[in-house]
Symmetry: D2
């Protein structure tokens, strides 16, 4: 028979972990969704149902909760501890990836919090044998400029009816990932805030002739200011806002009334990297898998 098992991995996805730190009267909160994926010598379970090398996904979940008891620290640190643990303690496992989303809350009082929706912090930690790397990022960061965006001078083929736009709304939901040169940082939290702020300020400051231009500007700004990073990946949906034709109703529309559209949407994806750094190394098998 000429059928073979190729690449494979398994794990527990979307463990919901809430960790409270009770620092005298003031409480602190981590609200996380943690996913684990493991790979290694797992042919026996696929070919014969022999689970002698299989750490149950239930045990992975237990590990996620048990390690939370030791403290989260920053999510990159928590991910590193977990990923190293699985590779170090399981003979069959040579590769572990821990993906963590941190859901944002605002403080309302010493032990009270309100959820916010201003972007989810992300960490994706991978340990492969003796090598480890860390990707940080943000998802669902929704940004909008009401002006300083144009789209002109594009190709006009027989299927092109779009008029040029000298002044349009530019809106997107940023998914960004940035790779650290080393799996360590003097201050993961401060680095996250600074990098995110660079992305946001770049979106705000850039006069955009295309969302592609904004994408590159965002990645460039980050790499220019954050020497610890080697690569930024961005996926930017173009959330179209169409000026409504109000002439039939005797009203002008001086770019004031828009219909926000759900689908279809443009989707711009790209990698910005430091010269000499392979843009698609083992950290991301696929640049498009966010």
């Amino acid at each position: 028979m000429d059928v073979r098992l190729g690449a494979n991995r398994y794990g527990k996805a979307e463990c919901r972990v809430v960790r409270v730190v009770r620092d005298a009267g003031t409480h602190h909160l981590h609200d996380l969704t943690v996913s684990v994926a493991l790979a290694g010598d797992l042919a026996a379970t696929h070919l014969h149902g022999d689970n002698a090398a299989v750490l149950p996904t239930d045990s992975q979940k237990n590990t996620v909760y048990a390690f939370a008891a030791d403290g989260i620290g920053e999510i990159e640190q928590y991910g590193l501890r977990l990923a190293h643990h699985f590779v170090d303690t399981q003979a069959s496992i040579v590769w572990a990836r821990v993906s963590i989303m941190e859901h944002p809350w605002q403080r309302l009082g010493p032990h009270s919090f309100q959820r916010t929706g201003t972007g989810t912090r992300v960490a994706v930690v991978t340990v492969a044998g003796r090598h480890a790397w860390v990707v940080s990022g943000v998802s669902d960061l929704v940004l909008l400029n009401t002006t300083d965006s144009a789209f002109v001078g594009f190709v006009r083929d027989p299927y092109t009816t779009l008029p040029e736009a000298e002044d349009r709304i530019l809106a997107t939901a940023v998914t960004a990932r940035w790779r650290h040169a080393q799996p360590s940082s003097p201050d993961w939290a401060a680095a996250h805030v600074a990098t995110r702020d660079l992305l946001v300020r770049s979106f705000v400051d850039t006069y955009s002739w295309a969302l592609q231009q904004t994408l590159f500007a965002m990645g460039q700004r980050v790499l220019e200011h954050r020497p610890e990073l080697v690569e930024v990946r961005l996926s930017l949906p173009n959330r179209h806002h169409v000026a409504v034709d109000l002439a039939p109703f005797g009203r002008d529309n001086a770019n004031e009334v828009f219909r926000a559209e759900d689908r279809p949407y443009g989707l711009i994806q790209g990698v910005v990297h430091r010269d000499g750094v392979p843009p698609a190394d083992e950290a991301w098998e696929d640049p498009w898998s966010f």
Copy 2:
């Protein structure tokens, strides 16, 4: 034939309206989802497909956009203008309800914004003949206390296994609606901020022996401080957080590590109203339809 047409209504749901105000260099943004429902003498279309009294839902949508050109003001005002318009101009229509969600954005610069997820402002305006009333509210306002919540002294029937909890996480996603005595206000925006803040502060301040107690405290606080309101309705899911048993892994869990559960969830719903005000008048046919 003994079959009759009963209550009925129709309209256009979920029009996505984005309105920009270009105030010199500083832009302002309203991001709305608007739904219209109309009722009246509409038997002919149901019984015979005779549409002579039917204003198309497409025209309702056009009206939503055309009126946006005149300015939104506050969503209660925009809803009142729209609802009165349909009843005043359509001979067949005696009842109109306009429901508006306002999606929140934070300012990043003179013409730049970032979406937030800290609750959606809502207005539901109803015009019935010469009568009009306004309900304001908030949805998806997610709050959490890490302590000052207990649940003890409850009924123990043969199906009860729940231990008493002296100290638990209390988390909910507030859906609140409050009815104004009059369909007018000196300042809808300030009233919204103040009412919302009363709800939030009451959640924060209340030592909760049951989510029901928190619910009543929230409604009571609002009515005590906002004389223009006559009724508050609250729907509060109890988002359970379960302390994980870490003893098998040799670790204590002093109420520090929790599993956040999706389903099932408790659901507490109630009305708090001013004495002498009918708690379920025509403003809401059903107290539970949020």
Copy 3:
């Protein structure tokens, strides 16, 4: 103080129950989502946090699972057993509503199944003191006719730009609820299949001059053929399909190429009832709360 507690209720929502019957080699499957809401003398918990009359929602969940062990039967029966139980055994509880969704599966073998998406069967059972009533229904039943639908002769106001449509696609996702005269049936399952088939056949057979006409035809057909029913409620979104203008690309579009739109959508809601039956009794406080 002039603030009062009004209507209130509480319960456990969305318990996911899967019940297997092992009938020799052939297995049978019920896949349910069950929600419970209870009301009665619950002022003490709201006003003082005194839970002496509060059956925990956790106990309600346990009851849902324990009663499943006795067999589901049909979901109307299971709902009746549960709702009566809460009212009969809890001194403080005078009203119970049990809402059940049954997720559909197709048989693939003696113990193998495949999920289908052709509509979810629903039962909503209410017990209020000595009175009980049963509503059955279906949700997410998506139907489409490619012809035999027109929309002409409607009101043209200053905001109307819609052209008349002599031949259009008619598509909707049916949410239907039907109320039984008695809380009993010789065969709930057969009645469900027959009623659902009447709705579907009526949608298929009706030449539609308006979705309102289709709505009434669907309700009328059901009541004419199902004497055990007294009322049908329907909520029908109009899922717009817009013929795309292909003239700029040198192609005709003889009603063949359509863009399916997400939002906004028309929404048609109505009640069809037997003459002499109050159209909005205690079974549904609000005809629009599906």
Copy 4:
């Protein structure tokens, strides 16, 4: 400056296309969601906002609709026509990927249809210069066995508390992709039905000692019977069903009453390929991006 543009692509995502064929009295329906991604020499727009090489995503959408007028055929064919078109007609574009979901409908009559939820047919067509390849697949195919599944003999580390399961429910939502050796087929539709049936029958027939074993069995079965295919990729969430402990309520639970859990869930992913076929060629940069 040491910052570089790496891999990038752009396009229009989620165009909703409904195509009706009016074959005398009998109508046929294609209901598609089509996404386009293009790559090539697009540095100028990223670096300078020069769009001279950018075909607007709006034109891509128009092309999707215009080509639909010529007939869909099977989605693999429609995808090939579109992908070749973009590469052949756009000087700057060297790579095009067209991803199509076909939403399933059942026939109710000559021009009437009902949506089903029994899996979405998928095609992903890629054209890179002169090379083209086709991946077909299915998403959201939900399968469940009530028996013939066990999980025993696994690793027990200090975080393992899971008991061995001799007889458990096995449930999953199959996402499968299979790659064709050639971008052509005598009958795409028949091949799709046959391949899907092989996946389903394999799930049904396999006595499963691990979901991994089921995964390999599914891929193996397909490759053994479909010589035109070279590779199958599967992503199988393990939708846990936990037998509820009913002992506190005086009831046995002989594997009859289960709680269906939402999160977390196991996630098993793997590739099964024909010997000598590279398991991760350019058809999928990442085996895990479904």
